[in-house]
């Protein structure tokens, strides 16, 4: 990614969202657990919304996109055992998989932001994208905290 422009960076992010949506759609097909199916469908739809948001991105979005929304960062993904995509995942595994995926995407954008520190616009863009992934991870971790960990 040496000849990166804002447009190509956004297209890269869009591709990430498409891959994620496709992954959740395929896992939804394979799942037999209604609780997991529901989450897969929600995650797929969420990624599609993210993709659409990115496609309509313009420079003004730097200011208005979630910049003031506080991050929770419960760090659940730091210590939960990694879940790999597979057939018939449970509700719990589905949430862990999704949170870990958001964490990985966050790490990718954070790395890119670090790499493009010399370019103010790209730095801002990747920092913003990284932050958005953390917000998505927050949403999934909060859901995990409310459901799987409701008794803990």
């Amino acid at each position: 990614m040496d000849n990166v422009t804002v447009e190509s960076a956004i297209q890269f992010a869009v591709d990430q969202e498409i891959q994620a949506a496709d992954l959740y759609a395929s896992l939804l097909e394979k799942s037999k657990d209604p609780k997991a199916q529901e989450i897969f469908a929600e995650l797929r739809d969420m990624e599609i919304v993210h993709k659409e948001n990115l496609e309509s991105f313009d420079n003004n979005d730097f200011k208005k996109r979630h910049s003031d929304q506080p991050l929770l960062n419960l760090k659940l993904t730091d210590y939960l055992v990694e879940v790999k995509p597979g057939e018939n995942l449970s509700f719990q595994q589905t949430l862990i998989l999704a949170a870990q995926r958001e964490q990985k995407t966050y790490a990718l954008y954070a790395e890119l932001a670090d790499k493009f520190q010399f370019d103010e616009i790209l730095l801002k863009l990747f920092t913003l994208l990284a932050r958005e992934e953390l917000l998505h991870k927050d949403q999934i971790e909060s859901l995990y905290d409310d459901t799987v960990l409701s008794q803990n």
Binding site: P70, V81, N152
Partner: protein, 599 residues
């Protein structure tokens, strides 16, 4: 003519008054001060009042009625009504004030009321005199001045360290005298009825107990709850949370009173005698119920009473669901549950034990055989802790541990045990491990006040020597070369605001990690349902939300012949809510067959 000295001095006596200041009563500009405990017009602290209506009930003149007011909505524990006083009937005896359980009602120094409507004597305390609180004169300042008894009759129970020596029931139960004394504290306001998911007839059966009529109390209890003894022992008792007496004192021991009454029915024959069930002749309709937990048993019982041919299919050896296999016997003895289920069987409920749907009989077969199906399978599949090392020998799940102990299967549990979780299952697991002689620590991610477990269970665990370590997050399980658990790694948490007004969430503090040597780790973070027995084609037609079946008011699913209740269809996941679901489903199933009959 006699000498009249008084007549001579009288003018001078009058002149004496000339030097004194005038003594004019400036009424009505300045009102005459009242006595300290004067009983003038009523005043009501509208925010403190819970609309229990006790003031109106005790009024000997029928001077108080309860009315709706703009801006005051009813909610659990508050009827939303407020008293209105007819001053034309009031005799200012003050009984209404003496029995007000919240202390919101008082009498004031105010005695002046002017209106051009000669027929208007109706007065809404607190509304018609919003500043009456500044001139309160007659009100019980302490509980001792009230006519109510705010102290609960203590429930006798085994002492903490005595309990852990056996699985004997911890609670010993009220004697008749104790039960009557406790029942007499009740003011029959009925706020508890709304709070109870099953809307049991609580004031009625408590009144029966206070009269010494336990048999009548049992009959009343069975009117809409066939598992009254179960609830008398382990109910989550939301009724007590809203008891009006609890505003200034200890709530009526509703659960323990129910326990007292139902325990008087010592066997199936006595239950039948007390309840005197009216069983309608067979109506030819067959209903299948999957799961003999509280919801399925309740649905089965009331359907059988109404003449339905009911069969409950239970995968396990005994009925009761999680109440049989998940609640320790020191809280709910097996004999108690079996007696209640035996009574249901005696009135015609058929239960096929050891019958697993999808294995012993297919779902499609059940559908074909019955005009309606009810599913009440509960949440029996535990979530894993989800950390490294959970597969090691010695790391177990609380629901499996409880099930094996209750089924009297041999269990191996080491000296040092850690339980992960803060719900009732975790507490039960911890207290059982104590009974096996283990030193037990509960690791809980949040604070004690966040624990979903019943506070009495938490206290009981601590009394029995269970140590609770809060804001501790399990991070990994360590084992020796043979794969046997040796210790648990955990990290401390800080509580962070979720930004949405919800309960704070725990976040791991980097670097604050610890190792605790243990022999066993018992996971108890929560459970979910296993729907694998339902064919995919059927599942696709049912609406689910967060793993629960979405049902209507009468527990109907999107499929007209399929009903669901208990943990899989409500968010409260307790026995009384399951019982309420079963009861509602009976109405739904009746409606279904009535509609079929019209087709």
């Amino acid at each position: 003519m006699a000498f009249n000295l008084k007549g001579i001095l009288a003018p001078f006596t009058a002149l004496k008054q000339l030097g004194k200041p005038p003594h004019t009563v400036e009424y009505p500009m300045v009102k005459k001060p009242t006595a300290e405990r004067y009983r003038g017009f009523h005043y009501n602290e509208l925010e403190e009042c819970i609309g229990c209506g006790t003031c109106g009930t005790i009024c000997q003149n029928g001077a108080i009625d309860m009315i709706s007011l703009d801006g005051i909505e009813g909610k659990t524990g508050d009827s939303g009504l407020r008293p209105r006083v007819d001053n034309g009937r009031c005799c200012w005896c003050g009984l209404c004030v003496d029995v007000c359980p919240t202390g919101s009602l008082s009498l004031t120094q105010d005695y002046l009321y002017v209106t051009d409507d000669a027929d208007s004597f109706l007065w809404i305390p607190g509304v018609d005199n919003p500043k009456g609180g500044e001139i309160k004169s007659f009100y019980p300042e302490t509980n001792a001045e009230s006519l109510l008894d705010y102290a609960r009759i203590p429930m006798p129970e085994l002492e903490g360290m005595e309990r852990v020596k056996s699985f004997a029931e911890v609670v010993l139960g009220y004697t008749q005298d104790e039960a009557q004394a406790e029942a007499e504290r009740c003011i029959s306001c009925g706020l508890c009825v709304e709070a109870c998911p099953e809307h049991m007839h609580i004031p009625e059966y408590i009144n029966a107990i206070s009269r010494g009529e336990a048999d009548m109390a049992v009959k009343i209890i069975y009117d809409n709850n066939p598992l009254g003894e179960l609830c008398g022992k382990v109910c989550t008792r939301r009724c007590e949370d809203v008891c009006s007496i609890a505003v200034r004192g200890e709530p009526i021991a509703i659960r323990w009173l129910k326990r007292y009454a139902t325990e008087q029915a010592a066997n199936i024959d006595i239950i039948r005698e007390m309840v005197d069930p009216q069983i309608l002749p067979p109506n030819g309709h067959k209903v299948g119920i999957i799961g003999a937990g509280p919801s399925g048993l309740t649905a089965g019982y009331y359907l059988a009473l109404k003449g339905y041919d009911v069969t409950i299919y239970e995968a396990k050896e005994h009925g009761g669901g999680m109440t049989m296999y998940g609640i320790p016997k020191y809280r709910l003895p097996m004999e108690s549950l079996q007696k209640q289920i035996g009574y249901m069987e005696s009135i015609g409920v058929k239960i096929r034990f050891n019958t697993k749907i999808g294995v012993d009989i297919s779902f499609e077969e059940l559908q074909k055989e019955h005009g309606a199906l009810f599913i009440g399978i509960g949440f029996e599949v535990p979530y894993t802790i989800g950390i490294e090392g959970e597969h090691f020998e010695g790391s177990i799940q609380a629901v499996n541990f409880l099930r094996d102990v209750n089924a009297e299967k041999p269990v191996e549990i080491g000296k040092n045990v850690v339980v992960i979780g803060g719900g009732n299952v975790a507490i039960d697991g911890a207290r059982i491990a104590r009974r096996f002689g283990s030193d037990v620590t509960i690791l809980y991610r949040r604070r004690v006040e966040d624990m979903p477990a019943d506070w009495e269970e938490i206290e009981g665990a601590e009394e029995e020597g269970v140590h609770i370590l809060t804001q501790a997050i399990p991070l990994g399980i360590l084992a020796d070369d043979t794969g046997k658990v040796t210790s648990i790694k955990y990290g401390m948490a800080e509580m962070v605001d979720d930004g949405k007004g919800g309960r704070p969430r725990p976040r791991l503090i980097e670097g604050d990690e610890h190792i605790m040597p243990v022999d066993n780790i018992i996971g108890a973070i929560g459970q979910e349902a296993d729907y694998s027995f339902i064919p995919d084609a059927i599942k696709e037609q049912i609406e689910f939300s967060r793993g629960r079946m979405v049902t209507g008011d009468l527990k109907e699913t999107k499929l007209p012949w399929l009903f669901a209740g208990g943990d899989i269809a409500n968010n409260t996941a307790d026995a009384i809510s399951a019982i309420a679901d079963g009861y509602k489903a009976v109405k739904g199933i009746e409606k279904l067959f009535a509609q079929k009959g019209q087709e």
